[in-house]
Subunit: 340 residues, 2 copies
DNA sequence: CTGAAAGCGCTTACAG
DNA sequence: CTGAAAGCGCTTACAG
């Protein structure tokens, strides 16, 4: 329909139409668009007026062909953990006054997307990538970082050079959990970790856990079980722990969601929380507050992590090459699940 | 660096390099890429081999300039409701054997993104849009549909022409909840609905609730409260209900998450669930299964909804113009929260 | 069945 | 400070 000539397509206004309307060149409009230097206030005002009048919106694909798309890719391991919502809030806050828009992808969904989601974000010319809870190797991350500015959240690699990392101090978080449990009178403290891809944050937490146990003179009671994120698996692991010969009197779980399942299993087994078994989670997600859970948890300031990650990736886009590793101290939020 | 000439950019292999490697034209490679008609098996095989050898990946931006980006935009209201994870699973299943990739955005985060996330997806040349839990008006949705194939999930508009809808039968879902509660011996049944933008799914559920109450001869006990999704707000509304003069003996909540908060409030008030108050949620998310919640809920088959939505949007991309409205029947999953 | 050429809407040197 | 022209990597008619 509507024979070209005026460059219409899909009803979209193009940069050429804005230029014609404002009586300036296409290049001038482009400069205004990018807040580039070398445009007079008068020209800028004229162009802005035309853009508003015509309802102009630049096409990201076209921009991406030569410059940026002003899009950041955020990769989440899954959509079930409400902790990621906190991170997302921080990311959005950081982007509020910028031209950047964030698009999310899930890494652990179908086979196709396993690592493919990052590639597909690169194919889509994302200007930068934020990877949450990655279990990729250093080399693999370096390969990504070669192509696009990269920041990881929840991946410890303090000697990485090619990409920035943003973390809470997971070792300290686990330590806080153990100390808190010890102070509350628990001694047979087990840890429930994640099975599968080796994760640096879990390695850190396991180390913090061991440290805390040894520190309290409980080195002999160290007991690390693990399960995948599949519900049935977690139930099985929890039952093994709670019905086994070395039944713990407290369990430190690697994330709130798992901790809630452990509470569920304990309840079904007729064990009382916190009297028979104390439970600690990680992330301090909103579910911890519910009276039926009242779960003690480690807060790692997800919103701050997201804010920092967005800030760092934009800095990289703007040319920073020196690496930055941001670490926030965790803090324990005590609730009834450990108040023996 | 690396003076052009061979067309390298950012280490990316271009379609031209593939063409040169295979000894064919760029147009031929493009056809193979799109599985377009009119290429011999021999040529296709040659090109495929070259693509593999060089590790070629088409640049979505460039494709988008003329044709498709093979990207679908999925808009979620927020990241806190685990129900969306079910929908996402279905979407990914539908996309498994296709070239399409899905990118997600959040609609209800910051001011900037309120409705802007859809526009920004259009700017990014998404081939189609799936909108979850939209509260936009018919005209507003029509405007989107004019620009891109659109499918909504959780938005009832059976006479819409320009876009497809995918839903469970919310009216029936609410009816099931009321009937179940009545059968369990509850009679002062309240509903806790969502305050804010008028939502067609909540309108449907409220109607189903009213219908169920009247049907059971409980028309006089109809009592609809509402709260935003903010935790404090929900707590306040729940307290008002449970401490008010017309204290209900059961509450039907518009989503599981809210129901869990209501259980929390009831527990804190010293009320027993299900003895003093029965609770029903909606979505049958995995949290319902936890022993400490054991929440009766309405299952709306999120995975199926996602699968259908993805299927429909791809059909639209491929040229279908006749509208489709897909509705799945809900089913109630009874648990302890209503077993008086 | 195959390919040369135009063009999508921008940005980027470069010249004025 | 401003603009004309080339070009990003694809797809799309069109011609052979």
């Amino acid at each position: 329909m509507a024979q070209a000539g005026e460059g219409r397509r899909n009803g979209r206004v193009t940069i050429r139409e804005v230029a014609d309307d404002a009586g300036v060149s296409v290049a001038a409009v482009s400069k205004v668009l990018r807040d580039a230097y070398g445009v007079s206030d008068a020209l800028r005002a004229k162009v802005r007026a035309s853009m508003d009048r015509l309802g102009y919106r630049p096409l990201a694909s076209a921009r991406g062909m030569r410059g940026q798309t002003y899009t950041l890719g955020l990769v989440l391991p899954d959509l079930r953990n409400p902790f990621f919502a906190d991170i997302m809030t921080g990311v959005n806050n950081a982007l509020e006054r910028t031209q950047y828009q964030v698009m999310m992808g899930i890494s652990a969904s179908t086979a196709k997307l396993e690592t493919g989601v990052v590639d597909s974000m690169i194919d889509r010319q994302m200007d930068g990538i934020i990877l949450i809870g990655s279990t990729e190797s250093r080399e693999s991350l370096n390969t990504i970082a070669e192509k696009k500015p990269l920041v990881t959240i929840g991946h410890h690699d303090p000697s990485a050079e090619a990409f920035d990392t943003v973390n809470n101090n997971d070792q300290q978080g686990a330590l806080l959990a153990v100390r808190h449990l010890v102070a509350a009178g628990y001694s047979k403290i087990a840890m429930l970790s994640l099975q599968g891809e080796p994760s640096s944050i879990l390695a850190e937490r396991e180390q913090g856990y061991r440290h805390g146990m040894v520190e309290a003179g409980l080195g002999g009671a160290i007991n690390i079980a693990s399960a995948t994120q599949v519900m049935r698996d977690v139930q099985f692991a929890a039952k093994r722990l709670l019905q086994g010969p070395r039944r713990p009197d407290a369990i430190f779980c690697w994330t709130d969601f798992i901790a809630l399942e452990v509470i569920s299993v304990a309840t079904e087994l007729g064990l009382r929380v916190p009297e028979d078994v104390g439970i600690v989670g990680y992330d301090n997600t909103m579910f911890c507050d519910f009276a039926q859970n009242s779960l003690t948890s480690i807060d790692q300031s997800g919103e701050l992590l997201g804010l920092q990650a967005a800030r760092l990736v934009i800095e990289r886009i703007n040319g920073r090459t020196a690496v930055e590793h941001f670490v926030v101290p965790p803090r324990l939020v005590a609730r009834r699940s450990t108040s023996r």
